[in-house]
Symmetry: C2
Subunit: 411 residues, 2 copies
Amino acid sequence: MNIVVAQSGGPTCAINASLLGVFRHAGKYGEIDKVFGSVNGIEGLIYGNLVNMSDIITTDDDIELIRQTPSTVLGSCRYKLPDYKKEPEVYEKIVNNMKKNDISAFFYIGGNDSMDTVMKLDAYFKANGIDIKAIGIPKTIDNDLPETDHTPGFGSAAKYVATTMQEITRDSSVYSIPSVTIVEIMGRDTGWLTASSALLRVNGESAPHLIYLSEKPFSCKQFIADVKRVQKKHGAVIVALSEGVELNPDEIEENFQSGKNDIFGHKYLAGVARSLEKIVTKEIGCKVRSIELNVMQRCSSHLSSKRDITEAERIGGAAISAMLEGKTGVMMAFKRVSEHPYNVKIEAVDVNLVANRVKYFPTKWINKKGNDVTKDAINYCLPLIQGEQNFRMKNGIPQHYVLRTALPGKK
Amino acid sequence: MNIVVAQSGGPTCAINASLLGVFRHAGKYGEIDKVFGSVNGIEGLIYGNLVNMSDIITTDDDIELIRQTPSTVLGSCRYKLPDYKKEPEVYEKIVNNMKKNDISAFFYIGGNDSMDTVMKLDAYFKANGIDIKAIGIPKTIDNDLPETDHTPGFGSAAKYVATTMQEITRDSSVYSIPSVTIVEIMGRDTGWLTASSALLRVNGESAPHLIYLSEKPFSCKQFIADVKRVQKKHGAVIVALSEGVELNPDEIEENFQSGKNDIFGHKYLAGVARSLEKIVTKEIGCKVRSIELNVMQRCSSHLSSKRDITEAERIGGAAISAMLEGKTGVMMAFKRVSEHPYNVKIEAVDVNLVANRVKYFPTKWINKKGNDVTKDAINYCLPLIQGEQNFRMKNGIPQHYVLRTALPGKK
């Protein structure tokens, strides 16, 4: 039998490691002949853009380089499958392309939306008596998938955030004048990655002095009061802020010189950190800088967590084992079985419990004032950022895996 | 005799290595008793905030950690000395604090403005028959100091820019749709650092596909034409752009749907890349993202160039030797004596030739269309990013040197 694997959603540093996990583990079993890669996620199966993974991973060098290359070797997509009862044509195309290639299992590495694809395909297969298995492999820097202790990609992103926040802290403390530095961190709905900025306290740093997550209502007035209070003690205030933090237009209108329209025009143009920069400038008048960590959070593989990459590869392999045990309609998940020493086991969980659901950052790990996280949050994140990859450099720059020929359907 | 050293201007990854160079090299000579550090640049000498460097660098561990810690251990300032003929009081305060501590030489690690301080102090000392020497040690990620082949700090920043551009390139190429990613790189007046993004072509990348430097007049209309042309070939277009690139209000008014006020409001709020993002969205309509590399360019010491750090320490040491040879009113400078193998020697140059002057990126290294740099630019930058520091980590995060007690005058 043959199988197919695809990558979907936003890139991370670990998604290629999971691809390797699937490919290499499949190679250990005589039952599996070919591992196909679907180009640009599920789109490749719709349009017939498949590649034999053995054609693109041919040497030990390829394996080593793919492991240290961020983003997706096979490309990605943001495609959401329609309801199969209303639009069965897309499903028929997928099944045709699978049958044409003798494919009997589909592995999808991705986040919430990708698990929706796994769930829908599995339901379609079952409803139509098609013997093809569908298995999800988690991936997202947002760490917001239910039923798993954490998601591959999060550990490397957290290591980047903690390291960079520490460097920004050094950078922001050089002058003798008071200042505020507001760092905007990815996470539209959840604050996991923003919370990971607290990790640098393990090394004795007081920064970040204030942490605001997407999960909590945000008061601009309280924020200004927090900053003023912290500034008395620390001079150079460092703030970590989820991109999903929402400003309240009415509160702005009532309390600030820059009115609602002014600030919300800002927010639309340049994100929440930049809007708060403007408010701090007007209300406190000190030196202010806003910084967006942007895509560097998800693609800085030169700083990836070795544990994250290792686990990502392992969970890809575990998906193959689960399929061979007959499982389908599942997502592979980590269960933390021990804290000291840190240890996880991998289980298969019902994908219906994951798809389209969000695991929020626990309220009990946010302090009462809503401007910091607790020690529990730090303890949770700490094991996930451990270890550095032994990186291969070329001409002073990390060496990346780059395809030798274009993938079908990809320019 | 005693000496004093200070750090000034914007932080870099290498400025602490130069501090170590001064401190450690001074320790080799019996003539030099104490090395003082002036807190917050020249301000420390004005207000009497000096620290004995032996009190803050006490162990081999301290040395190793300072070398891998970005920004300035002694703090920094943006203070510009007044004309001594008009306001001699500041100079008198500085000289009093120097004499009180038996200081006979002043070492200033910094950029153009800091060299202005060295020049003015030296002129004041000479005019008043004061036997104190003033020596500049170059530092700036902008690489815009005349009379030196390059400046410490630039190599590490260039390594960060090239590495990050490569990772952004991977990240931006995942989807099957056309896109534009505009990366804004530091350099208000000069494009050295933006040009260094071309380094990743040495590893076979085609990105960045377009490079615009501060030195060349920028046409928005030409930019849109360039992007459209490149997009036909590459799909996901990667643009490197100096923060100093200037948009022409009249050109915008004449050619674009978003009028002058719209775009210039934007630029004021959020930088040139974000303004161009808006123009591309309206004119081309594809997926667009703007990214500011922000302070991470100057403080990501986890990715510093070993050659840069080594040279920064070496040039700090050379400043001590120059002082002992009787030199004053000079800046230490690199002269590239050989390309293959790369080799530099260190000379002392007249600080009057450096202060308040700017070394622009050579026009002959910019292509005719003004949207790329030549192979010469790549060859120039390549040796400067070579080698990685052997980094000490703690809890999965780089370990930084942090002062055990507060510096005088610093909170």
